[in-house]
């Protein structure tokens, strides 16, 4: 083997360069394999491999320089006394070669370089072997550990600010799967490391899909619709007939209620006069002044109407109802109306037989009989026509032209579709599918199904047994067998 200093340095450079190349390839392959096994992303794996290769090559870039290699050898073997560095320096080549050759020959440079090559290439080769042969289950465990630690979507908080008109305080929900709130509420979702997402509660149920790298999460928005107010007319309690001239006072009382708050209310009345066959029926409408409720949940409307101010004449009908409005400035206002009471002014001609006053509610049957008598008196008995079906059967002169009859669609296809999707969701045990299904259940107003699905999602999230909740959901979909009140569909011709 030649012991010329230049040849020794050249061999060392070749060996170290080869080791660097092998190390770069091994680290790159190991990193790419690891990333691919963890995240199943070829693009990420190739990127990581390229980065690792470039990093190693950059770090070992001086292995290609003869002077740097010679210096590295001198550093490892100080006994050389710079003989090798001087030998590879073109400025001093050819002078005093014998002494330098002897100095280099006295040191075992090959063994020194061999150890360095083993250190440089051996470790990455072992890492590559480990990445190749470690079982897949270990990767899954590692993925789970890494995932839980770095998923920024869990836990999260939802801050719900109801619309201003509701005058309700804002509140926070901790790591909810469902967010119930009034329609129009501002919902701020916040998680770790400062992320925030603002949404407005829509009018119908929906799901918010949050994505953080490979992580994904669905949150159900469960809108609470501001129900329209209700109002019950308590006075007058029944319809009545009064004599002409219509004088005195009519006391009107109504009780209103709303789930959020009442804004105002009033009484509306409609006066119809005249007859169909004598000049036609005319109507005029009016209402009492508005009474403000200051957003209370219940309120009482009271008004006194002086009948003589209405100019009622014989035969006129006075129809009265109460109207209340809530304070919904977002999609409203919601309006509620009571049932209508009718006050009739009797004509002079009926006085000999008619003397009716308002009846208490418990005398409904009596009032009904009297009203029927009233109708008979005013209109005469209804014509008692009995059609002689046998005589006229199929004697019509016109020819029917029946069009093709098509079978009617199933009465409840939506329920059938939900049942089919539910079967798929159970088969896959997919939490997200169940959450989306819950949105549909909320949309169609199937509260038992929505509650059961929520329990199932919660149980699956905790790793608990979800089967009881899924069984309840199944029952909620199938429902109680019931007879259909409609005729069966016709088949095609």
């Amino acid at each position: 083997m030649a012991t010329q200093p230049g040849a020794v340095a050249a061999r060392a450079r070749a060996a170290l360069t080869g080791a660097i190349v092998v190390a770069a390839g091994s680290w790159g392959a190991a990193a790419g394999l690891l990333v691919y096994r963890l995240f199943a992303s070829p693009r990420a794996a190739v990127g990581c491999a390229a980065l690792a290769i470039m990093a190693v090559l950059w770090r070992g870039r001086y292995a290609g320089s003869m002077r740097r290699v010679a210096l590295w050898v001198e550093e490892q073997a100080p006994a050389l006394q710079y003989a090798l560095v001087t030998a590879v320096d073109p400025q001093y080549s050819g002078t005093n070669d014998g002494a330098r050759t002897a100095a280099v020959a006295a040191v075992n440079v090959g063994t020194m370089v061999g150890r360095a090559v083993i250190r440089t290439a051996g470790v990455p080769l072992l890492a590559l072997a480990a990445a190749t042969f470690v079982p897949a289950a270990s990767y899954r465990r590692l993925t789970a550990t890494v995932g839980d630690a770095s998923n920024r979507l869990t836990p999260l908080t939802a801050r719900v600010t109801p619309p201003t008109y509701a005058r309700l305080p804002a509140h926070e929900l901790s790591d909810p799967s469902t967010i119930p709130a009034l329609v129009g509420s501002a919902v701020a979702l916040q998680g770790r490391r400062g992320w925030r997402k603002d949404v407005t509660m829509p009018a119908s149920p929906a799901a918010v899909r949050l994505v953080d790298r490979q992580f994904e999460r669905l949150i159900v928005l469960d809108p609470i619709v501001d129900a329209p107010p209700t109002v019950v007319l308590t006075a007058p309690a029944r319809d009545a007939t009064i004599r002409e001239p219509a004088t005195g006072t009519l006391t009107l009382v109504a009780e209103g209620a709303d789930d959020i708050g009442l804004r105002d209310g009033y009484f509306e009345y409609l006066i119809t006069s005249g007859e169909e066959d004598v000049g036609g029926v005319h109507a005029r409408e009016a209402h009492t002044g508005h009474v403000a409720f200051a957003d209370t949940k219940t309120g009482t409307l009271r008004a006194i109407v002086r009948l003589e101010t209405l100019g009622l004449k014989g035969g006129d009908l006075l129809s009265v109802r109460a109207v209340v409005r809530d304070g919904n400035t977002l999609s409203g206002p919601g309006v509620g109306t009571s049932e209508t009471r009718t006050i009739r002014v009797a004509t002079q001609q009926e006085y000999d037989s008619l003397a009716l006053d308002a009846q208490p509610p418990q005398d409904v049957d009596t009032v009904d009989k009297v009203e029927t008598g009233n109708r008979l008196y005013l209109r005469g008995p209804p014509p008692g026509i009995v059609v002689d079906v046998d005589r006229v059967r199929m004697k019509g002169t016109s020819t029917p032209d029946a069009g093709p009859r098509t079978p009617a669609p199933p009465s409840d296809t939506l329920r059938a579709r939900i049942a089919a999707r539910f079967a798929v969701a159970v088969a896959r045990m997919a939490v997200d599918s169940l959450i989306v299904l819950r949105v549909d259940a909320l949309t169609v107003g199937n509260a038992p199904l929505a509650a059961a699905l929520n329990d199932a999602v919660t149980a699956l999230g905790r790793g608990a047994d979800a089967r009881p909740a899924l069984a309840r959901a199944q029952r909620a979909i199938i429902g109680t067998p019931a007879a259909s009140g409609t005729l069966s569909a016709w088949s095609g011709p």
């Binding site: 409609l270 109802r321 049932e339 209508t340 209804p382 009995v386 199929m394 019509g396 029917p400 009465s411």
Partner: protein, 203 residues
């Protein structure tokens, strides 16, 4: 199979019995043109009663305000949910009239939004063919009421099926005559009533 009984709805507000001859006239037409078993006499059913669930079609008419009581509204909603059909006809033939204004409001509140029924709907083909949609009435053509010839009927639909059929054409006046007088008509104007009944019984 039980026979078809024509039912007139009785409601608390207004004059529900404003067209007493219509039931007999339509019963006569069903017998004349179809093989449907039909009862020779119609019935009157209060909208608060459970009897109404025995009849697949309810006829509602009047001149005066139509406003359901809470009990009536609940019953009507249940009736429609169970597949019943209501035919509501404005006896005033006047879209500015009190019946129309209160009835459309009440029906929207009780059953849902009224929409124009397309004149190609199968209601106009299911027995007699009415290619131009609902037949016009003499009251419309003479300019009475709102002086309009209404091109469409209105309906509350469940899917494509009619749940509530609403007419501003005043068929209650058009069909309000004794069935024996039908022989004087060149064209029987109650044929569309047969379509309504056939539709209610088969869809």
């Amino acid at each position: 199979m039980s026979e078809f009984v024509f039912a007139t709805a009785k409601y608390e507000s207004g004059d529900w019995d404003a067209a007493p001859l219509v039931p007999a006239n339509l019963i006569d037409s069903v017998a004349r043109y179809t093989a449907i078993d039909v009862a020779p006499r119609g019935v009157v059913v209060p909208l608060t009663s459970r009897e109404m669930f025995e009849y697949p079609l309810l006829y509602v008419t009047g001149h005066l305000p139509l406003r359901f009581t809470d009990a009536e509204r609940r019953n009507v909603q249940k009736y429609l949910d169970r597949g019943g059909m209501m035919f509501v006809d404005d006896h005033n033939h006047d879209t500015h009239g009190v019946f129309h204004q209160t009835a459309t409001e009440e029906l929207t509140r009780t059953a849902g939004r009224l929409v124009d029924l397309p004149n190609t709907h199968e209601l106009y083909q299911c027995f007699f063919a009415f290619p131009d949609g609902p037949p016009n009435t003499t009251h419309e053509l003479n300019g009475w009421g709102d002086n309009l010839v209404h091109d469409h009927l209105q309906a509350v639909l469940r899917g494509n099926r009619i749940e509530v059929l609403y007419s501003s054409k005043d068929y209650s006046s058009e069909w309000g005559y004794h069935p024996d007088s039908k022989r004087f008509n060149e064209v029987d104007n109650t044929r569309f009533g047969v379509n309504i009944i056939v539709y209610a019984l088969t869809r």
